[in-house]
């Protein structure tokens, strides 16, 4: 007696997928739980496990086949037991003979692997999953897996508000493989529940900017594996260069700030170490052609990062005048979307507030962000003796998925050369 293994639906909307890889060959004996194949959709890659035992009699779909319809037979096993109903296919495909169910493991819980299927709400690990009928239906319509949702109803039952309030992690739309382990959304507790009585504070409603800052920073800090690299730079030469430049520019009424020089230096360093001017995407690492430098500007009620496009191609005077306009429009909230969306690298400077050193949160999808501290007179060791110099501490926070430690270090070295020898910026 043979059983057919059918193409599983990884999501309720999935109609077809690619058979990426076979993990078994004809003649292999498989047991329940063995990974037999990998299936890919535009959204996810999932391993397919066998539910029943048997010997692989035939692989009906070759490895690498695109557009395999859901519920189409993909392999035949012989000597198997009876078909299991545990994860019977969602659609009755009318496949001949007995069908053998496959089970998609619940391992990467955020993957929309089993969402929507009636059988899917039974997770093998934890037994029955409590959810209201309406919650099940809406989750299935949204393509959300109930297994990733924490229920707020009695006994942890998932109810409609849990599904509606559920924001799938960014990773859901990326590869399931690369998805970080999901966390159930935190239960939101009122301040009063946390011991701060009403009436002892004023509540200011969240405006759009605050919501955006909160969401983007939370997602970035949680999802991006980040690490900081810190170095001290001597900037006396940079300050001298700035004075000379400004002396020349006075006639034209322009003025260049230390920050403008840092923008220019960072842009050139990104050209010299292009691996740092990069973004992680599930499809691959994106290396940007230009250094579009986003600069964090504090505004009333939040912050925003207007962008100096292709800064490596611009002179410092031009950068200075662009920055002046951008910062002005940022403060009056008149920036156009194209002026603040889509930078490749960010600079955040808290030097003017006397901050010595800090590590910013990555501005996704950028691969790194530079935190600039105050330039201050410090003791430095030259040879065997102490000397005074103006020193500025900078920290590069890197997305480890794309910018490894060595790349970050090379970028900082290039940046140091430019800052400490500003004349090299024009080489």
């Amino acid at each position: 007696m043979s059983t057919d293994v059918l193409m599983p639906a990884l999501s309720p909307t999935m109609e077809e997928g690619a058979l990426a890889k076979w993990h078994v060959k004809v003649g292999d004996t498989v047991r329940s739980g063995d990974v037999i194949a990998e299936i890919e959709t535009d959204k996810a890659t999932m391993e397919v496990e066998a539910v029943d035992e048997g010997v692989v009699e035939a692989l009906l779909v070759p490895e690498g086949t695109e557009s395999v319809k859901v519920n189409a037979p993909i392999a035949r096993l012989s000597g198997g037991g009876t078909a299991t109903a545990a994860a019977s296919p969602a659609r009755s495909g009318g496949a001949p003979g007995e069908t053998m169910a496959v089970r998609v493991p619940a391992a990467p819980p955020v993957a929309p692997a089993t969402a929507g299927r009636r059988a899917a709400v039974t997770t093998p690990a934890s037994g029955r999953l409590l959810a209201s009928p309406l919650a099940r239906r809406v989750a299935s319509q949204m393509g959300v897996d109930l297994a990733g949702i924490r229920g707020s109803g009695p006994h942890g039952r998932i109810i409609l508000r849990d599904v509606e309030g559920f924001k799938p992690a960014v990773a859901v739309v990326m590869s399931a493989r690369a998805a970080p382990p999901s966390e159930s959304p935190r239960e939101v507790r009122s301040l009063e529940q946390m011991g701060i009585p009403q009436g002892t504070y004023d509540l200011k409603p969240l405006d759009g900017m605050r919501k955006t800052v909160a969401r983007r920073m939370t997602e970035s800090f949680r999802n991006v594996p980040h690490f900081p690299l810190t170095i001290d730079l001597e900037i006396d030469a940079l300050l001298a260069a700035r004075s000379s430049i400004n002396a020349l520019l006075t006639a034209e009424g322009g003025k260049v700030s230390v920050n403008d020089l840092i923008i220019k230096a960072a842009a050139i360093a990104l050209q010299r170490v292009p691996e740092a001017n990069a973004s992680y995407t599930p499809e691959g690492l994106a290396f940007h052609h230009h250094a579009d430098i986003a600069v964090a500007v504090a505004v009333d009620g939040g912050l925003i990062t207007p962008i100096v496009r292709a800064a490596e191609t611009k002179g410092v005077a031009q950068i200075a005048s662009e920055m002046k306009g951008l910062a002005e429009r940022a403060r009056t909230r008149k920036l156009k979307p194209e002026e603040y969306l889509g930078g490749t690298f960010t600079i955040s400077n808290l030097g003017m507030f006397g901050i010595r050193s800090f590590a910013s949160i990555i501005n996704e999808p950028q691969g790194a962000i530079l935190s600039v501290g105050a330039g201050e007179r410090r003791a430095v060791v030259r040879g065997e003796s102490l000397a005074a110099a103006t020193v500025m501490t900078v920290t590069l926070t890197c997305d480890h998925r794309v910018v490894d430690g060595a790349i970050g270090a090379r970028w900082l070295a290039a940046f140091r050369t430019l800052i400490e020898n500003p004349i090299t910026m024009i080489v």
């Binding site: 009928p133 309406l134 006994h155 109810i159 409609l160 009122s190 009585p197």
Partner: protein
Amino acid sequence: MADAFDLVVIGAGPGGYVAAIRASQLGLKTAIVEREALGGICLNWGCIPTKALLKSAEVYEQLGHLADFGLSVQGRSYDFSGIVHRSRKVAKQLSAGVAFLMKKNRVEVVDGVASLEAATPAPCVNVALKAGGARTLTARWVILATGARARVIPAIGLAPDGDRVWTYREAMVPDAAPTSLLVVGSGAIGMEFASFYRSLGTDVTVIEALPRILPVEDEEISATAQKAFEKRGLKFRVDAKVAGLSRTRSGIAIAVESGGKSESLEAERAIVAVGIEGNVEGLGLEALGVRIDRGHVAVDSHGATNVPGLYAIGDIAGPPWLAHKASHEAVACVEHIAGVGGGHLSAPIPGCTYTTPQIASIGLTEAQAKAAGLSLKIGRFPFRANGKAIAAGETEGLVKTVFNADTGALVGAHMIGAEVTEMIQGFALAMTLEATEAEIMATVFPHPTLSEAMHEAVLDAYGRALHL
């Protein structure tokens, strides 16, 4: 006497006494302050005694239709004082029941009038005792459950005069049924008294300022109700503004303006049923700085006021002014205070009107659901197509269901007819459990019952009614 408590509840109506019982169950040392009678308005002057009156009226009215059932009776009559007496006896019995529950749950009952004084962690409660003297109760938490009273508008004469102009309170215990009656306001209270007195033969006219009676109900139900009431001889003036009420030699006259026309309606008595006002006065709330919004104490979703340690539930915390809403909030509030509130649901609150025919509803009306931007599936099933209704001679009735067409969520249900107040909980349960049309359709409704009309109204929303 030990006057330090975990919780002091002010007001022993269906909000307050339920809060006290739940608190005691959770191990809180609890006291309850009541200025009048345990059970509050609901038990003593509202829900319960009116149901007793309405039962008498319903039986009396049915005696007039006995021939339909092949029966006859000689000399149908009523003893009005007997009807009132039974109503008072029922109220008294239940009030005594609350006293028993307080004792059983070791809740200390303090008879007197409470006022609050600033203190930490919660305001302290000064009670002017009914027996004379005063007590000061301190507590970690205080729950206000002082309820509400009939709204009156003295400027145009809409205020009780102890004789010819009544609120619900006077209307419940008169010496005799008036021969004619004007009811101002067609909400549940106004309509129940209108229905009661009409059953006893009173000539009743109901005046409603809005364009339809029972304005909180679904428009279709309002229209069906008005027709059914008119068949029983009730008269209506809708879209009608009361300009003033005056006394005549033998009764009262109400000047009504409607559609640019003025008329004067006269009757022996009038009932003012134009809404409810929270009992927020005399409690010292102003001095505490308690935030009050349109006559009600402003609270968060747990019943917390802006003053630390002070909570409010039930009518004083705002509409809907329903006993079961107060009890529901009581349990939620106490469980929150005690820190066991996990999994509390914001369940939809059904509303019931005990007229003949009865009206019951839950969730959104069709118009509200449309206004909320939902795409809808509407189902209807009339009682005249229901076997049990025909057998019982109760063919006047309708069940209407409102579904969200996208998700299959039941967002509202509206019923008029016999026993619908007993049946609405079926839809309440379905909504609270978040059933979709599929689960309600799959539920087996017993035959023959009126409840089959509920099943059919769900099926009808999806074009699958079996008996239409």
